[in-house]
Amino acid sequence: MTMMDRLPPTLVAGAPLLRMTGVSRRFGRVTALEDVAATVWPGEVLGIVGESGSGKSTLLRMMNLEDSPDAGDYRLALPDTAGNLFDLDRFARRQLCARRIGIVYQNPHLGLLMGHSSSGNVAERLLMAGERSFAALRARARGALEASEFPLTRMDDPPKLLSGGMQQRVQLAKAIALEPALLLLDEPTTGLDVSVQALVLDTLKRLQRDLAITMVIVSHDLGVIRTMADRVMVMRHGRVVEEGLVDQVFQDPQHPYTQELVHAKL
C-alpha cells in the first residue's frame, strides 16, 4: 500500500465509545477473526463490509458479548463498566447487553419471540431492565414501535404474522427501547424487497439523526454501508484489510480486495 499512515485522532473530544484490540477467534481449523481491532466514537456509524465468511458477523456477535474470543480486549466507555468486557461472567454480560446494547439480526427468529405479540417483544426488554408498571410498559413499547415507524394498529400482532420489513421494525423497536449506548445491526435489510429495504434504512438513518445513537452496521451490501456509515472497515478472511471514511474507501480504495469489491459493485 502506498497510503501514508494516519495520525491518531487529535480533534475528537473524549474517548471512543467502543474499543476492541487483538481479537482472534478460531473455530477448529477455521480462523474466524485474526488480530482484529475496531474503534467506534460516540455518535458515529461504523460500517463493516466483507463477503460471507469474512468474520464480520462473528465480530458483531463479539461486540454483543454473545461469544468470547481466544484472545482480545473489548472495552466500552460507559459509566458502569470497566476492564475487559470479555472477562465478564454470563450474568454480567446479559445485564450489560440488555441495558446498554441493542441488536438487530438479519434473521428475526434470533431476536424475537415469534409467537408473542410485537409490543410484548418490546416490553420484554423493558421488563428485563426492571420496569414493572403495566401502563409504563404499554406506553414505552408503543413509543419505541412508533419511533421505528411500525404501524401501531398491528402492535399486538405476533411477528410470525408480519412481513419481513415489519419484523425488522419490531426488532429495531426492541433494540432501541432502552435507549442503548450502542446499536448493532447485522445485515438488517438483507432478504427484504428493495423498496422495503429503502424504507427500513431510512428509518435507521432518521433514528441515527434524531437520537445520535452510536451504531455498528454489518453488511455485504456496499449500498447499505454507503447510505448508513461514516466510516467503514473492510474485512476478509477474518482480518481487517482496509479502514477509512466511507467516501474515501469507496472512491479511492487502497487494498486490492477493496478495489475488487468496489468495482464488482459498480
Partner: protein, 304 residues
C-alpha cells in the same frame, strides 16, 4: 461375624414404606430446598405403589416426614373423602401407624392437591403440596436447560410478558391456578395449581410448605416466615377469586373459597371447597361441640 448379625431381620416393607437410604436422600434434598427457598431440587423419585401423576411426589415427602406421633390429613381439591385422598391417607397410616384425621386443627402433616386449608396453619404443622409441573418457566421456555439458566440469572421477564399479554388481550390477568410467585425475593416458583385465593396463605406463613413433583423429580420448599409474592404489575394489584360474598348452600359458610355446582335450571350453587370446614360448620349449626380455628380470610378479606 455373620451377615445376619450385620442386618436387620427381613420385613415385608420398611417402616414408613421408603427404605432408609431413600429417606436419607429425601431429607438431604428437603433440607437443601429449605435452605434455598423456592429453588427446585432434583431428587431420585422412588417407585411408590401409585401411578406417577397421582401425588407420588407429595407422597414421598410425606412418607419421609412421618413419625410415630404424626397425625395425617390428606385432601384432594379441598375434600378429605375423595377416593384418591382416602387411599393415600389409609396407605400412610398402614405403613406407619400414624393417626388419620380430617380436621386441619388436629393434623401435624397435611398432604394436599390443589388447596391450602382455610384454617390458619401453625408452626407445628407441615403442608405438602402435590405438584404436576414444577417449572414456572415451561410455558415460556420449553428447553429446561435454558430455563435453569434463567432461574440462575433471575431472568423472569418472560413470565411478566405472559401477564402483559393477558392484560393486552383481556384487560385483566387471566392466570387462575398455579399463579407464579417470587419466593424470598429470588426464585420464582409455581405454587402448584392452588387457586389465587390460596397464594397469600403461603406468604410469611407460620408453617413449612413442601412442594414436590414425583414425575418431574423436583421438590422445593417455602420455609416459615418467607416472602411469597405473586408476580404483579406495580399498577395492577393482585386479585384473588371473587368469592368473598358467596354463601355455601350446604353449610352457610361465607367468605371461603367455593366450588361452583351448576344447577339443572341454569345458574349455579356454591359449596365450600374445604369440605371438612363445611362439615364443622354444619355440626356447629346443629349444636355439636366443634372448634373452627382462626381463618386466613375473615369476612372475605385476607388477614395477614
Amino acid at each position: 461375624m455373620t451377615l445376619s448379625t450385620l442386618t436387620r431381620p427381613w420385613a415385608a416393607i420398611s417402616w414408613g414404606f421408603l427404605d432408609a437410604s431413600a429417606k436419607r436422600e429425601m431429607r438431604r434434598k428437603m433440607i437443601k430446598a429449605i435452605a434455598v427457598p423456592g429453588c427446585q431440587m432434583p431428587y431420585a423419585s422412588r417407585e411408590v405403589p401409585m401411578a406417577r401423576g397421582w401425588g407420588t411426589g407429595g407422597l414421598q415427602v410425606t412418607l419421609t416426614l412421618l413419625r410415630t406421633d404424626s397425625v395425617v390429613k390428606v385432601i384432594d381439591q379441598g375434600a378429605d373423602d375423595s377416593v384418591n385422598a382416602a387411599s393415600i391417607r389409609r396407605f400412610l397410616s398402614r405403613v406407619s401407624a400414624a393417626a388419620e384425621t380430617w380436621d386441619t386443627l388436629e393434623a401435624t402433616l397435611i398432604q394436599s392437591r390443589h388447596r391450602v386449608p382455610e384454617e390458619r396453619l401453625r408452626e407445628d404443622q407441615v403442608l405438602v403440596l402435590q405438584v404436576p409441573n414444577p417449572e414456572p418457566l415451561r410455558p415460556v421456555q420449553p428447553n429446561m436447560s435454558i430455563a435453569r439458566q434463567m432461574h440462575a440469572d433471575a431472568d423472569y421477564g418472560r413470565l411478566w410478558l405472559v401477564l402483559y399479554e393477558q392484560m393486552v388481550r383481556s384487560g385483566r390477568i387471566m392466570q387462575g391456578a398455579a399463579y407464579p410467585a417470587l419466593v424470598n425475593g429470588r426464585h420464582v416458583m409455581t405454587p402448584s395449581p392452588i387457586p389465587r385465593w390460596d397464594v397469600p396463605k403461603l406468604h410469611m406463613a407460620r408453617h413449612l410448605t413442601f412442594l414436590s413433583a414425583g414425575r418431574e423429580k423436583r421438590l422445593y420448599a417455602v420455609p416459615p416466615f418467607t416472602r411469597v409474592e405473586p408476580l404483579v404489575f406495580s399498577d395492577v394489584p393482585y386479585k384473588v377469586e371473587d368469592h368473598a360474598d358467596l354463601v355455601c348452600h350446604r353449610s352457610g359458610l361465607r367468605g371461603v373459597f367455593m366450588n361452583e355446582i351448576p344447577q339443572d335450571g341454569g345458574g349455579s350453587a356454591f359449596e365450600a371447597s374445604d369440605s371438612h370446614l363445611g362439615i364443622k360448620a354444619i355440626r356447629r349449626a346443629e349444636g355439636a361441640a366443634t372448634t373452627i380455628g382462626p381463618m386466613w380470610y375473615e369476612e372475605g378479606r385476607f388477614r395477614p
